[in-house]
């Protein structure tokens, strides 16, 4: 994985020192809250409903065991013993004291971590496929380009005060696990007809109050032009993006209002000015960054491992976990393991310090020291030998991490909602908890199959409700929590936005409503159909009928 050079190290250290000074000046009265707020946000510190919140960057979702142990240590020493993994592959601490934050940042710096680019109107921490460098379906490792983009974008002087925040995601596989069509810029690594590898460039996707599926403005961008092309897009946005209206300030609004083709022309015009200039990526530099992400030395193994197959045959619980939480690896005899942070009744994405340490130990022993954070709020051991899976599963299960539900109904994305967030209108986490309790029968969940439920506590859509097969949006009706349900969304390569099914449900009714939707799906589905297939065939009518029959 990427290791800091002298420049990175000095830069992060300097930033810690700078923030320590800023906190000191705030406490001494030399800075007002209005002056201090943008400075603390540049270092990932928010003031939430109950306390400060610190968001720590996990660039492209990759962690070493040492880093995860440090995150556990911070949870235990400075917070309340847990951390919360987010849909942007970051970790958030919900209870740090402001006076402790400089010390926390200093501890993070010792393991090459920080909170830079986790807030503010800058290019945020780049996200990537959580199976990067491991997935069987991958063309190239997207983290190489995530890191190149990080080096270009960190404190980029021209793009430090954009109209609004700016999120970039990169995937190297045709099966999109990074939701590239729902980012300000999505980069999909593609191979052209000549066999060269480059990027499909997707712009103007996003969720929030006005959700849009991103549009492709370039089908194939040769690698060496990555940064000049990104710079051209950012330049057009920085000049023309709206600064007068917060709700219209994201690039998706600019792309829609300008028209995708006109927007592309603006970008291409700008690009012609700077193309082949100093931003052209030298092959040697790409290769240098590639060495940081060189795959570990995998043993030469058979794709089929009798011991593993036997265990799977004999042990139904193990087999069930393998079916949902183990994914194909590019190296024969290896697999990617998804560690569910969604046990029944627990807040999605939370992990205790002890769980983080247990996972760090497993990664060290069985996964070449690597852990990933997924945007679906789970953790991943990317490189596990098939023959080690049973032991890994046993340790996970002993630590409350063995729930066999990746991709199933209870693998819910939920934003922090009104339990923690200052912007929320309604709670999200307890709705997720109650749904997982209602569907506590895992056998039934496996029969239901792949089903994505996503819950947001307000229109900002941090819980990605627009792209849930079943999306749930919390709204405030005269101080009471209500939930609007959308059906048919999808964040993967079949990108789609869900449509509202009908009037909202109360906090007490919403779990029953989900149950009714699932029941309707099971009644209607034909062999092999996923939720969105059935919905596309039968439409909203049977769902509405069941949901609002009594009304």
């Amino acid at each position: 994985m990427y290791r800091y050079d002298e420049f990175d190290r000095a830069f992060v250290k300097q930033r810690v020192k700078q923030f320590r000074g800023q906190v000191g000046r705030r406490l001494a009265g030399e800075l007002s809250e209005d002056e201090f707020k943008p400075l603390r946000l540049m270092n990932g510190v928010y003031l939430q409903l109950h306390a400060y919140m610190l968001r720590v960057a996990v660039p492209y979702g990759t962690l070493s065991s040492r880093q995860l142990r440090k995150l556990a240590h911070i949870a235990r020493s400075y917070d309340r013993g847990y951390g919360h993994f987010t849909t942007r592959q970051n970790i958030q601490y919900n209870w740090p004291k402001l006076v402790d934050v400089p010390d926390i940042l200093e501890e993070l710096a010792t393991v090459e971590m920080h909170a830079i680019q986790t807030s503010g109107n800058c290019i945020r921490n780049v996200t990537a496929d959580h199976f990067a460098g491991a997935a069987a379906d991958e063309i190239e490792d997207p983290r190489v380009y995530g890191e190149i983009i990080r080096q270009w974008s960190s404190l980029h002087p021209e793009f430090s005060f954009l109209p609004r925040k700016f999120k970039i995601a990169v995937t190297g596989a045709p099966n999109d696990r990074a939701a590239v069509r729902f980012h300000d810029i999505g980069l999909q690594i593609r191979r052209n007809e000549a066999g060269e590898v480059g990027f499909e460039v997707i712009v103007g996707g996003g969720l929030g109050r006005t959700p849009y599926i991103g549009v492709t403005i370039r089908k194939f961008l040769p690698k060496q032009h990555l940064l000049s092309y990104l710079e051209a897009i950012l330049r057009v946005y920085n000049q023309l993006g709206r600064r007068d209206n917060l709700f219209k300030s994201r690039i998706k609004i600019l792309v829609q209002q300008t028209g995708a083709e006109a927007f592309r022309d603006l970008v291409e015009d700008e690009w012609l000015q700077i193309k082949d200039g100093y931003l052209t990526l030298p092959t040697a530099e790409i290769e240098r960054i590639e060495t940081y992400f060189a795959p570990p030395v995998f043993e030469t193994l058979d794709a089929s491992q009798p011991a593993f197959e036997a265990r799977r045959f004999e042990d139904r619980d193990f087999a069930r976990w393998v079916r949902t939480n183990v994914s194909p690896h590019k190296a024969p005899g290896y697999a990617c393991v998804t560690i569910s942070l969604k046990p029944e009744g627990a807040p999605p994405g939370d992990a205790s310090a002890e769980q983080m340490e247990a996972i760090a130990d497993l990664a060290e022993r069985f996964s070449f020291d690597e852990i990933r954070v997924s945007h679906e709020q789970n953790l991943v051991l990317p490189h596990v030998r098939l023959t080690d899976l049973a032991e890994v599963w046993e340790v996970l299960a002993a630590n409350g991490l063995g729930t066999p539900n990746a991709g199933l109904l209870s693998d819910i994305i939920a934003c922090p909602g009104l339990d923690y967030c200052n912007l929320a209108n309604a709670r999200s986490i307890p709705v997720a908890q109650r749904i997982t309790q209602r569907f506590s029968d895992l056998k039934r969940q496996h029969e239901i199959g792949d089903l994505k439920i996503k819950i947001s506590g307000c229109i900002n859509a941090c819980g990605h409700h627009h792209v849930g097969h079943i999306g749930i949006l919390g709204v405030d009706k005269k101080g009471e929590e209500f939930y609007q349900i959308t059906l048919g969304g999808s964040a993967d390569e079949n990108a789609a936005l869900g449509k509202i099914v009908g009037p909202a449900f109360s906090y007490d009714q919403v779990v029953e409503a989900v149950d009714n939707i699932v029941a309707t799906y099971l009644e209607q589905r034909r062999e092999g159909e996923r939720f969105n297939d059935t919905l596309a065939r039968v439409g909203h009518a049977p769902f509405k009928e069941k949901l609002y029959a009594a009304a």
Binding site: L47, H50, L418, D419, R427, P430, Q433, G479, E480, Y507
Partner: protein, 110 residues
């Protein structure tokens, strides 16, 4: 969340903020100090009272004790103050999702 509507004292208000150094939730008391407990707060339906409370809060912002003060509505039921909105109920009681991590005022008073 159950909502309690009581038109008689619907305009009863208390002042809240977060402590600057720690970030925890506090309420302005009768004696002008800040408490972790909503039920130790000063509640008033009098406009000039409320102005005085917010002025005191502004002084304490300037003195770097608290940050982001504001007033919100409560109702008094059987001598117990309860917020009207789901947001303030949760803010007063802590997250509803992890009983093992509810705020511990004694621990945080330090």
């Amino acid at each position: 969340m159950n909502q309690h509507k009581n038109p008689k004292n619907a305009s009863l208000r208390v002042v809240t903020a977060n402590r600057l150094r720690q970030g925890d939730v506090v309420y302005l008391t009768v004696s002008g100090t800040w408490s972790h407990h909503l039920n130790e707060s000063r509640a008033s339906d009098d406009k000039s009272d409320l102005e005085a409370m917010l002025a005191k809060a502004a002084d304490d912002v300037a003195a770097r004790l608290v940050v982001g003060p504001y007033a919100f509505e409560v109702v008094e039921i059987d001598g117990i103050l309860q917020p009207l909105s789901a947001r303030e109920i949760i803010r007063a009681a802590g997250p509803t999702v992890r009983s093992d991590h509810r705020p511990d005022p004694a621990e945080r008073a330090a």
